[in-house]
Symmetry: C2
Amino acid sequence: MPTQDPADTVTAAILVIGDEILSGRTQDTNIAAIAKFLGPKGIRVAEVRIVPDVEEEIVSAVNHLRGRYQYVFTTGGIGPTHDDITADAIARAFGTGISHHPEAVRRLEAHYSHTPGMLNEARMRMARIPHGATLVDNPVSKAPGFEIGNVFVMAGVPLIMAAMLESIGPKLTGGAPLLSVTVGSSVPEGVLADGLRIIAETESDVSIGSYPFFKGQRYGTSLVLRSQDAGRLRAVAARVAGLIESLGGTPEMDEVA
Amino acid sequence: MPTQDPADTVTAAILVIGDEILSGRTQDTNIAAIAKFLGPKGIRVAEVRIVPDVEEEIVSAVNHLRGRYQYVFTTGGIGPTHDDITADAIARAFGTGISHHPEAVRRLEAHYSHTPGMLNEARMRMARIPHGATLVDNPVSKAPGFEIGNVFVMAGVPLIMAAMLESIGPKLTGGAPLLSVTVGSSVPEGVLADGLRIIAETESDVSIGSYPFFKGQRYGTSLVLRSQDAGRLRAVAARVAGLIESLGGTPEMDEVA
């Protein structure tokens, strides 16, 4: 059970938009990539939702999440095809209009200028941006994402999503980063659990997650300790290491980071 | 934009429980595995949520999802440690009690009988099951999942989750399976999009998803057509193949499955 968030914790939600993720056809990797990008900035991903390419589902999820968390990051549905409906859904969620954004049009014109006819009606749709939004740069394929209110709208293709996230980074204000340290050993989770519960209860300012692992022939438990306070992390990690030793294990601890 | 679900479509939601997924430390693979297991049974995953190890978040998500979809599948949080709170949260969501389930206790006693002391208090916690629930077999490590109402509660470790899913399979009632066919080509999404929109609008009983791909040096677009009707899928796939050829591409089509 995690400790209460400190008062200065900044939280975010991720909204993944796409039938291909829900069907299992495409394995999502964006959720973990976004979470790992935000963590060191002191922004904790507190909820994720995956919804289909259905406008009312997107609108409803965006409006719930943007009211509850400081930031919302969406992925998917901003390409040129008929099933790319994210921009329209976001406009509707914010009760604003949508039309071709002059700077977005300019970027697409420049990108496709080498071949006449390349910038067709479908590709021009990628320049449709809700009114009041600011563009998010796409250094890979130029068609921009956008930022409106506390919502950042990004592409679903992981390479493009990662580039957009980099360009969003400087705009984000995080809290004190949550530091972590992992203490691993070959002691099974079930053997550690009783002692661990006592530590978790008495050191309740440090959250402790317990994750069994199976690596090749080796199995054991990784204990992930999280806190904003490096000193407290080291103290509780030492106590956890002591528990592991008392149970005949050899604790392996990485650096606090 | 997908077509409306046929009246006999059976829908499911997945609820992933775990700080380690939200932090990005662990890459989830259960969502895609569950979706791929359910699809051929005619059960469509319509929504996914990922929530932290916080009881009120689990309760709230379970109660929302079980009211909206025919089935809910949860993963994570049923191990022996202090951060495994799923069983208690599910009991609370259903307004029922929770205690050690005799058959679950029997299975753990048999599993740990070879070494005295192995079945400690923490491991015995894995036999705590909400009242009114039915056990879900765990052929891997014995500690069972459970089924209550329309909610199936499974482990988070992918190997164990997959084994539980197999044992749940025969209990599920699906609709007519959604068949699919993929038509791929090296024609870029933006070139296909205008023609594809017309096909999607006039053949609105078949859903068409468009996904750009990058494989090594090769890039192009995969068009995924879905319908319960194999004949309609073949007809619309032929029309999509014709569009690709008219744009100078070579369509590659797999079998309807």
